[in-house]
Amino acid sequence: MMRMLSASWHWLIDRLVDVGRGARFFLRLCWLGVASLRRPRLVVDQIYFIGNFSLSIILVSGLLIGFVLGLQGYYTLRRYGSEEALGLLVALSLVRELGPVVTALLFAGRAGTSLTAEVGLMKAGEQIDAMEMMAVDPVARVLAPRFLAALIAMPLLAALFSAMGVLGGYLVGVEMIGVDAGAFWSQMQGGVDWIDDIGNGVVKSVVFGFTVAFVALFVGYEAEPTPEGVARATTTTVVVASLAILGLDFILTALMFSST
């Protein structure tokens, strides 16, 4: 009994230490992320790398989700005779919810894992150590530009995802099923609010960008420097980042849309 209590106590202390380390690491990343603006070349390279990596999967997924939204939305709206609201339904679903969330999940799977694996392998190959011995701070030189790049790339990718989704909804709803194009666009234009809908969607995607980038880099940096350790770390990134995105999404949605 005493042994169990002592083990749980140690477990609790270890987790608290982890939380503290994570928080310190997060603050350091934020601070050094801003500082890495002094070397824009490093950040731009990473934006290209991270953004380009995820672009095709984001565009295709956005289009496909738009197709499905067009179909499902049409069948539901037809029951109430309000098919012309299809444009509004597609756009709101995307900018408020699906755009940021699905993009973040895909981003975690595509870019997040690659960041974790890259940093983990650098650690396993003693590159992080070597950099430290060369008097170069690896958090500032390697991690911070990637962090900032992910923060910038994530909202852009979410915007592209939503745009592709709207296009997909249009193709299915208007071109295939025959919903009136004027109604499709004008309802969308009239019903989507810049601040409440698009603004909040952007805020979500920025928060998710923080989440994915932080989880991916922290897990990679803390990975055991062995092949198994790196493999485990990439899995951890997907699991933790996805759960964090969905959990945060609920909290953000409750905060943002509870008053409207």
Binding site: E118, M122, E126, Q127, D129, A130, M131, M134, A135, V136
Partner: protein, 272 residues
């Protein structure tokens, strides 16, 4: 004179250094001296604490007791800034090179120059090509790191380690896993660079034959202590059982074949 330190003095000195993780003591009162212009080999079995010594010198670890002094400064007393300033004056060659895999050969060697100097790009280019020429790999400047053999990777890493002309170069197992030609090349490079640049070189190795060929002085480390030291010739003539076991590769000796355990008969239940 270099930074106020005369050539006669030791560039680096470890004085009664003790280090360990919790109850496990890894180094127990180790004292070493590294003068400029000499190649000093640190030999010992796996897990004898050789790499730990390099990490202590670089300030990646701090000793529990004793002092590590580089150019007269106590490494453990330095803050982060001081430590970074000191590390710029140390070159380190890792066992497998530790080249940055996202950069090519040229950019790897240029890395310390770009990070720590404000030299114009044409000058950096010339310096990098000179460093690469010194290790015989100017022709491979635009190779990706994945295209390099083990020996080539180590030579590129060596060019990177000397990019800032440090007075101290540390080599962590520079001969491990190399074919005979690459090994001879790396060994010759260590000796030649040491003599041409008048630096202090530390070669950590368990490869006695090759370490003896290039070293001016040898320390033998076992169980966290220096058990023997001397020039390669003195070590070769030694009758000390520690030295003999290591030099002759005997299975049993001061380092026993069996890890400490209860008698076998007890484990098998043969004794009543």
């Amino acid at each position: 004179m270099r930074n106020g330190v005369s050539l006669a003095e030791d560039l680096l000195e470890l004085d009664q250094v003790r280090f360990g993780y919790r109850e496990r003591l890894i180094l127990d009162g180790v004292s070493l001296r590294f003068p400029l212009g000499k190649v000093v080999a640190l030999i010992g079995g796996s897990g004898s604490g050789k790499t730990t010594i390099l990490r202590l010198i670089g300030g990646m670890l701090r000793p529990r007791d004793g002092h590590v002094r580089f150019e007269g400064q106590d490494v453990a007393a330095l803050d982060r800034e001081g430590l970074y300033a000191m590390r710029r004056r140390m070159g380190m060659l890792y066992q497998f090179g530790a080249l940055f895999t996202d950069l090519d050969v040229f950019d790897n060697v240029a890395f310390p120059l770009r990070e720590h100097t404000r030299l114009p790009e044409p000058l950096i280019r010339d310096l990098v090509l000179l460093k690469l020429n010194a290790v015989g790999l100017r022709g491979a400047a635009r190779f990706r790191t994945a295209q390099l053999s083990g020996g080539m990777a180590r030579r590129v890493a060596l060019a990177r380690a000397i990019a800032l002309d440090p007075p101290l170069i540390m080599y962590d197992e520079p001969f491990a896993g190399l074919d005979p030609v690459s090994l001879a090349t790396v060994a010759a490079l260590i000796r030649n660079l040491n003599d041409a640049l008048k630096v202090a070189s530390i070669v950590v190795s368990h490869d006695i034959k090759d370490a003896f060929k290039i070293a001016d002085y040898v320390y033998l480390l076992a169980s966290g202590k220096i058990v023997a030291q001397g020039t390669p010739a003195q070590m070769g003539d030694s009758t000390d059982p520690n030295v003999r076991q290591f030099l002759d590769g005997d299975i049993d000796g001061p380092v026993s074949f069996h890890y400490e355990a209860t008698p076998l008969a007890d484990d098998l239940g043969l004794r009543r």
